[in-house]
């Protein structure tokens, strides 16, 4: 289960340059793809080869998205159910667009409008959507680990669209894809992610985005730094210590200057108002003053450093509006790549478990 360490990560980059673009105009099961996972619940079980395949398949999906009619028949006749127990617009719509681009039939269930509000259990809901024809289940839930429970009872493939504080696999994969594509001197220009300084700034403790990025970025060999107030990075030092021993090194700091200095990528995370109520932060104002990604702070990073944010943003809190909209920002590229990455994952999962059933 462990993520391979740096030597394998260089293979990942080398593989990308020699990418064989899968033909996405045919159903996935007719291709001999090396994808062997039935579900995508976390990124901790993905090998360097898996990540490479996701990146290459995403390249192919980008090519589809560039066509005049961005649609392929790969998942024609498949039913993809999108079951979201948490409010979300961008991730839900991204999955929906991705599934429709692959010609899947899409069923959307928002927890507020379903029988969930009447107290139906997750297990019952999953059995019901399967009985209604779902072959792939995209799921978001506020409780860490919930997709594992769904995967125990669902006959098809479960794709985790974010669970509690635990994991957000497609976000981490689209982040990695965006870095590989946009980083000056990076993989798209014949370089590598190895040793490139990536900073995740903000509320690490409550962030499934940060957790998933730890797995993928350490696997890619990046020099990963987590930065935030002490209350919001607590516990990660112990992870970093064990990670170092296991060849998946990263750093934790409360010093924003130390984190940003010479960074290649700076990813700001959303700060939520609940953190004040929980006594973890004095105020949003103080957070913005001490950790907000402003133009002045960004000047500590490399001049061509990428600015990222998984959204939705609190502009003026964790990120200044002029930074979010500035020339270094690749935030809209993240959104576009999100569709391509989700197409790639739906496609790959359909290939291993295309028709539902046990």
């Amino acid at each position: 289960m462990s993520i391979p360490s740096a030597p394998d990560a260089t293979t990942l980059d080398a593989g990308a340059t020699a990418a064989v673009v899968p033909s996405v105009d045919v159903a996935p099961e007719v291709q001999a793809v090396a994808w062997r996972h039935r579900h995508l619940l976390d990124v901790d079980g993905l090998s360097a080869a898996d990540l490479d395949l996701v990146m290459r398949t995403t390249d192919a999906m980008r090519e589809v998205l560039a066509r005049p009619i961005a649609k392929v028949p790969a998942l024609r006749g498949r039913q993809v159910t999108i079951l979201f127990y948490e409010a979300s617009t961008r991730t839900r719509v991204s999955f929906e667009v991705a599934a429709k681009n692959l010609s899947a039939d899409v069923v959307n269930i928002a927890a507020a409008s379903s029988s969930v509000a009447k107290g139906e259990s997750l297990v019952d809901t999953v059995r019901t959507v399967e009985a209604l024809g779902a072959q792939m289940l995209v799921m978001r839930h506020s409780v860490s680990g919930a997709p594992y429970l769904a995967a125990e009872v669902f006959g098809g493939s479960v794709l985790n669209g974010g669970d509690g504080w635990h994991a957000h696999p497609t976000q981490a994969l689209l982040d990695l894809y965006t870095m590989r594509e946009r980083l000056p001197g990076g993989p798209a220009e014949g370089g590598s992610m190895a040793g490139r300084k990536v900073v995740i700034l903000g509320d690490i403790l409550h962030s499934r985005v940060a957790r998933s990025n730890i797995w993928t970025l350490t696997a890619a060999g990046a020099d990963l730094w987590l930065c935030g107030p002490a209350t919001l990075v607590r516990g990660f030092e112990a992870w970093a210590g064990r990670g170092a021993a296991a060849g998946r090194r990263f750093h934790v700091t409360t010093s924003v200057d130390e984190a940003l200095r010479d960074a290649d990528v700076v990813m700001a995370l959303r700060i939520q108002r609940e953190r004040m109520a929980a006594g973890l932060l004095p105020s949003l104002r103080e957070y913005a003053a001490r950790y907000g990604l402003t133009r002045e702070r960004l000047a500590l990073a490399r001049p061509d450093a990428l600015v990222m944010h998984p959204g939705p943003m609190n502009e003026g809190v964790e990120i200044a509006p002029d930074v979010a909209a500035g020339s270094q920002s690749v935030i809209t590229n993240q959104v576009t790549n999100g569709v391509a990455v989700r197409m790639a994952l739906l496609y790959l999962l359909a290939g291993t478990h295309g028709t539902g059933g046990a």
Partner: protein
């Protein structure tokens, strides 16, 4: 071995009698329910009889079980709970009062004892009464009436005695009655929404951390209040149940050294399981590295709700501290905190699952795993299930202080075979609570016969 009704004759077994401080080869004969003879063998007769085969020990005592009746009979009844006890080798169990209604007055105790009588089980059912009315932490329950009706202690278990002031009053009042307060130490201000031990595993899995400090702060409070009360009420006694952290056990170790009248227990799951199991590891605490992701130890899926328990499974170092405390006597007893739950309450998201492990039937097997691994001696394991809890109970069990292989007394003993492994299965558990994280695993020490109060409480189908 022959078993015919109340007559049992076993020759050439390994006897363990912690009350007598003795173990070795021997024979026993039970006639008409009375342990007629206990013969310790020596010389040629003893040759070849090792402690790795059939073992006979006094019947086990569990200071902490939840039998769920009245109020949640879907999870367990007194009858199924006592059957589970017998299957696990226990002949005396102490039920916690967090039933519905709460056992905070003698009427509820009567119902529970009537259910035990109606079950026909010879397993002895003792009960703890609530400390406060409705376990609400505000007003003292009918402590004197409950004492008169026969409770063996008082506990608001499931939650701590809420405030220091009510604990102070309760310790004084029950101390004068000669009964202990059994506290579940947890500072609720540190555990709101908590899901798993605050540490590396919870961080990686994105589970809300349950700090060791929540238990240690509560233990420190309890000991400070006890120290205060005992000056005026020398009979005041505190028992801390299911201690799970190195720091909490250290506090008790020091309090005992200072001669405070405190006792404590640890559970089999906190001795042998760790938070690594929530990530998907299935190795004993003494084999754990603390980073199951690094050494390919993840053999099961993560977030199994059978592992959600209060207090949470802790780190390998905490489990080792529990073992050390058991070995050095800081921990007086092993108690299962048997907490059966329905499928409905467990087949949900990890964070929404009920806390608790169904533990009566696996306690022996788990302790024997520690014995097999050289982490615990067999006599100490047996003492922790017999003389240890008996010491906490005083003479309030029907066995009085005679928790040993005592000739002439009604037979109260368990016979198990260390050479015989059995696999834990839901159907194989007599408890209605199938919520055991050990389901699917093999344990040694299959129970062959349990005799309680001179009657057969359990007999293996093929014994």
């Amino acid at each position: 071995m022959t078993v015919q009704g109340p007559d049992v004759e076993i020759r050439g077994a390994w006897l363990v009698d912690p009350a007598a401080g003795r173990e070795g080869p021997g024979d026993i004969i039970v006639r008409d329910g009375i342990l007629e003879t206990v013969t310790w063998l020596s010389g040629a007769e003893a040759r070849g009889i090792e402690p790795d085969g059939v073992v006979i020990a006094p019947g086990f005592i569990d200071l902490h079980v939840h039998l769920r009746e009245p109020g949640n009979e879907d999870a367990e009844t007194v009858a199924t709970g006592l059957a589970a006890a017998a299957h696990g080798g226990f002949t005396t169990v102490c039920a916690m009062p967090n039933t519905d209604p709460v056992l905070d007055e003698p009427g509820v105790l009567s119902r529970v004892l009537a259910a035990a009588a109606a079950s026909g089980s010879p397993v002895e059912l003792l009960a703890h009464g609530a400390v406060t009315v409705g376990r609400a932490g505000e007003q003292l329950a009918a402590l004197g009436e409950l004492a008169d009706a026969g409770v063996v202690g008082f506990s608001d278990d499931g939650a701590p005695v809420r405030t220091g002031s009510i604990l102070r009053a309760a310790l004084a009042y029950t101390g004068a009655l000669g009964l202990p307060i059994v506290d579940h130490p947890e500072d609720a201000g540190l555990t709101a929404g908590a899901e798993a031990n605050d540490g590396f595993v919870a961080t990686v899995l994105g589970l809300r951390g349950w700090p060791a400090a929540a238990e240690e702060a509560a233990v420190a409070r309890d000991l400070a209040v006890l120290g205060d009360v005992v000056r005026d009420v020398p009979g005041a006694r505190l028992h801390l149940t299911h201690l799970s952290t190195a720091g909490a056990l250290d506090l008790v170790r020091r309090a005992k050294a200072a001669r405070l009248p405190v006792t404590c227990d640890v559970t089999p799951h906190h001795l042998a399981l760790t938070d690594e199991w929530i990530a998907g590891a299935r190795r004993w605490a003494w084999e754990a590295s603390g980073d199951p992701w690094a050494d390919d130890a993840l053999v099961a899926g993560p977030y199994a709700t059978a592992l959600r328990v209060n207090p949470p499974l802790r780190t390998p170092a905490d489990a080792a501290a529990c073992m050390t405390a058991l070995a050095d006597g800081t921990a007086d007893a092993v108690a299962t905190d048997h907490a059966p739950h329905t499928e409905v309450d467990k087949a949900v998201e990890f964070g929404a699952a009920a806390n608790g492990i169904s533990g009566l039937e696996t306690a022996l097997g788990v302790l024997l795993a520690a014995v097999d691994a050289g982490r615990l001696t067999l006599p100490r394991a047996i003492a922790a299930l017999t003389t240890g809890p008996a010491g906490v109970l005083g003479a309030r069990s029907r066995r009085g202080n005679a928790v040993g292989l005592v000739e002439g007394a009604p037979a109260d003993l368990v016979v198990f075979d260390r050479s015989e492994r059995w696999t834990v299965t839901p159907d194989g558990l007599a408890s209605r609570g199938k919520n055991s994280p050990l389901v699917g695993l093999a344990l040694s020490g299959k129970v062959l016969v349990t005799l309680a109060g001179g009657r057969i409480a359990y007999e293996a189908p093929d014994a």
